[in-house]
């Protein structure tokens, strides 16, 4: 995954906020996913399509995390969202 790729939620993904946490419905598998904390923050940022770099920069500024850890975790997280049909990745 490249950091200049644009990430956006897939149209039709259903999301519900409960007590500050986000629950998502995979429209294909019909499975639920929960996002809290940093995951919720990333999802909120994705509501405006932007590059992975922009998301990385925003999270790095917002949370006390080392760049290397954030880079690895962010890629893993975005890949998981993609695998579960919750986001699309554009070149």
């Amino acid at each position: 995954m490249e950091f200049d790729q644009v990430i956006a939620p897939i149209e039709g993904v259903f999301a519900q906020e409960v007590d500050g946490e986000m629950v998502l419905l995979d429209s294909q598998s019909k499975h639920y996913f929960g996002l809290d904390g940093v995951g919720r923050s990333i999802w909120d940022k994705l509501q405006t399509p932007q590059t992975l770099q922009a998301i990385y920069d925003a999270i790095l500024e917002e949370y006390a995390v080392t760049p290397e850890v954030l880079r690895a975790d962010l890629i893993t997280f975005i890949q998981s969202l993609h695998a579960h049909h919750l986001i699309e990745v554009e070149d």
């Binding site: 519900q16 007590d19 629950v23 019909k30 639920y32 809290d36």
Partner: protein, 287 residues
């Protein structure tokens, strides 16, 4: 019998309880017709069942005609064009089994698929003019706790399934059928309950039951966020794929609106009164 705000007259019943309620005709047929699609055999608890339908089950467009066969017992057919139930006898048919499968399984499915209500697998009682719901899997203590509330003088809404309908600012509970079955004899509705609710009541709180060892204290823990959503999502009576999106939205709104607690219940019948008191005190705190 009045169930979920409708009247269905079973054999042996004379007249209707309440002519103001919408009537669902029930009649016997000799053949199963008009439902060419069929599923493989599935298990509903210990009972093999299968579905038939006129058209595939898809979101927002249930088949006009579909059926549920309980192997060897009965096949129940719903015809949406005339809102009626017909049935075909199996070799082990008995009138009591017809009543059981219509009330316990088939009519709740009809209501869910027709999107008239959301159907939850919960016990429910009336407390102070409002509905209190108990969530748990089968054998998780719902009927036992409902029984304690009945003994304490509260009215029954549900022992097993409950209809829920959105209302301004919350949700209404619509009672299922006036029977309570604390000891699980199979394919029976249980004992008829005289003190049962007949009008919709606003839901005030939900309790997810967790059985604990007998000597543990009774515990009450508010649930929030994803955990709250997950517990509520597990309480749906049926989870056809075509219904998932609508159920997701419904569960989200319930989670946003209603308090849900995890209620730790020591597995000791003599301490049920203590559990009852804990629930009553928590409800008083919501007022």
């Amino acid at each position: 019998m009045v169930l979920f705000g409708y009247e269905i007259v079973f054999g042996g019943e004379v007249g209707v309880s309440d002519p103001s309620l919408p009537q669902i005709p029930l009649h016997e047929v000799a053949h199963l017709e008009g439902v060419p699609l069929r599923t493989p055999w599935l298990m509903e608890g210990r009972y093999p069942i299968r579905y038939y339908s006129q058209t595939p089950f898809v979101a927002d467009c249930p088949p006009c005609r579909w059926a549920l066969e309980v192997r060897g017992v009965v096949t129940l057919i719903w015809d949406a064009s005339c809102a009626s139930i017909s049935y075909l006898r199996g070799e082990r048919f008995e009138p009591s089994l017809l009543e059981y499968w219509v009330c316990h399984t088939f009519f709740p499915l009809v209501l869910a698929l027709e999107e008239r209500y959301h159907i939850l697998h919960v016990g429910a009682v009336a407390v102070g003019g409002q509905a209190v719901l108990f969530l748990a899997p089968s054998f998780g203590g719902k009927s036992t706790l409902v029984g304690e509330f009945l003994r304490q003088g509260h009215a029954l809404l549900s022992d097993d399934t409950l209809a829920v309908s959105p209302r301004s600012g919350g949700f209404d509970a619509v009672a299922s059928y006036p029977f309570h079955r604390p000891y699980r004899k199979s394919q029976t509705l249980g004992e008829r309950v005289a003190n049962s609710v007949t009008t919709p009541l606003p839901i005030t709180a939900l309790y997810a039951l967790e059985l604990t060892p007998p000597k543990r204290p009774v515990t009450l823990t508010p649930l929030e966020g994803i955990e709250k959503f997950t517990v509520l999502a597990q309480s749906h009576f049926v989870a056809f794929e075509s219904m998932r999106t609508r159920q997701f939205e419904m569960v989200g709104k319930m989670a946003q609106t209603l308090p849900l607690y995890r209620l730790g219940i020591p597995k000791e019948m003599q301490r049920l009164a203590e559990v009852y008191t804990t629930v009553r005190e928590s409800l008083a705190g919501l007022e």
